[in-house]
Symmetry: none
């Protein structure tokens, strides 16, 4: 599906940026790169910065005009650094990602269009876009590197795609044993821990049962918000047991954890 | 506020990436760059890629160890490409942005830590981080360019910051004492706590220094995700001190908490 979202770079000066854009695209699962009248392409510098995304560079389509680059697209979004005189429907990068993914879901093709390093897109080019997208930035230093701008927009495309596919945006591969280890402790286990903790604190002389102050409630608050797992509970209980033994002068047992 | 979120680059090989990171930071309104043992810095290549973010490069702090880079931080997030043996609390970039902004809102400082271009962060370095963040990517081509990864995370920081600024100001007036109590502990305070905890566990016979297993890393993981406040840190340290005194047969001092 992501192959139906193309990245269009207009009149790029630095081949390194083409390579950086190709790498960012491949990282995020996009494949189709279209270059409108690039200044220097193909180039070893592009290849170096692509850092293995050679297939994207080799498959890049080089065309003479923006019009050709947009053939077949049903949605065109142009990157815009500044406010323009004519108000235009504007997206932020997140909305751009979602709108793009929705568009390919209904069978459309999408172009994300990036302008020149120093001058961006012309007004005429921007008028060929249904939407403009602006990457929020420091007003006093607002111009992103071209490959960095591509990275942000294709990242948002991937986030939207993962969201739509119902895929997690992070994959925690946890082994079966690790699963057991991360199984949360129950509240009654926690209560038994607090009892054990309290008696140990009395035993070591840290807690005065006559003047308990807020100590236990503070410790409850700390451990209560920590999502203690069963494994961690065992460790914490083990520490208390060994503390008591050591204080009583009994032989300490080594941890087997 | 964003000045309290620092970008830490560990052992960077290519100065161009340092420049690219500086530019991305300045674009997104971040200012503090810390370089741990960079291979080539300062460098004209960094300056060229920074493209005007010279102030970020000039102000960059160069340190020898990750530990120094994290002084004063209450939240440390490390970028991680792969699954690790020990499961660790994982954020996606969006969650990372929100968590970072929340942390500086309560007066904390945040470090976003990026590893080497080819090898990332070591397991030891990753264990100094409370959270790992993974930028979702094409499983077959998953390694982002360093500056591109910085761009994605600082972009999400800016998005979260804008989101937060758009909301009605929350509870800004907090009493001085409450502030002190909820003020987060810094990572260097946490490190001192882990050292104290480790030596105490050895002393009570729970931890065998010859066979430490995963005990300390599990305890780091537990306390690392718990957002310990300075007050809580004092309580936990006090418990250790009293445990040691009690084990050594010294008189226990009552808690004054």
């Amino acid at each position: 599906m992501l192959q139906n979202i193309r990245v269009v770079l207009v009149n790029t000066s630095h081949p390194g940026n083409i390579g950086g854009a190709a790498r960012a695209m491949k990282n995020m699962g996009l494949t189709k790169l279209v270059l409108v009248d690039p200044m220097d392409f193909p180039s070893p510098e592009a290849r170096a910065r692509a850092s293995g995304a050679d297939d994207i560079l080799d498959g890049a389509q080089v065309v003479a005009t923006l019009e050709e680059a947009l053939v077949g697209c049903s949605l065109v979004v142009g990157t815009s650094a500044r406010d323009r005189r004519i108000p235009w429907p504007l997206l932020d990068p997140r909305e751009c990602g979602r709108t793009s993914v929705e568009q390919v879901q209904v069978g459309g093709e999408v172009a994300l269009v990036f302008g020149r390093e120093y001058a961006g897109l012309t007004n005429e080019e921007l008028q060929r876009c249904q939407y403009h997208v602006h990457i929020p930035s420091n007003p006093e230093f607002s111009s992103l590197n071209l490959a960095a701008a591509v990275q942000v927009l294709v990242y948002e495309v991937r986030m939207a795609w993962l969201e739509q596919e119902g895929l997690p945006s992070k994959v925690e591969k946890v082994e079966a044993t690790a699963m057991l280890n991360t199984q949360p402790a129950t509240v009654d286990e926690l209560e038994r821990y607090y009892e054990h903790l309290e008696s140990t604190l009395v035993e070591i002389g840290f807690l005065d049962p006559e003047k308990p102050r807020h100590l236990m409630s503070r410790l409850r608050r700390l451990y209560g918000r920590s999502n203690i797992s069963k494994l961690e509970m065992n460790i914490l209980r083990g520490i208390l047991t060994e503390t008591q033994k050591a204080v009583r002068g009994e032989t300490g047992k080594r941890s087997d954890t």
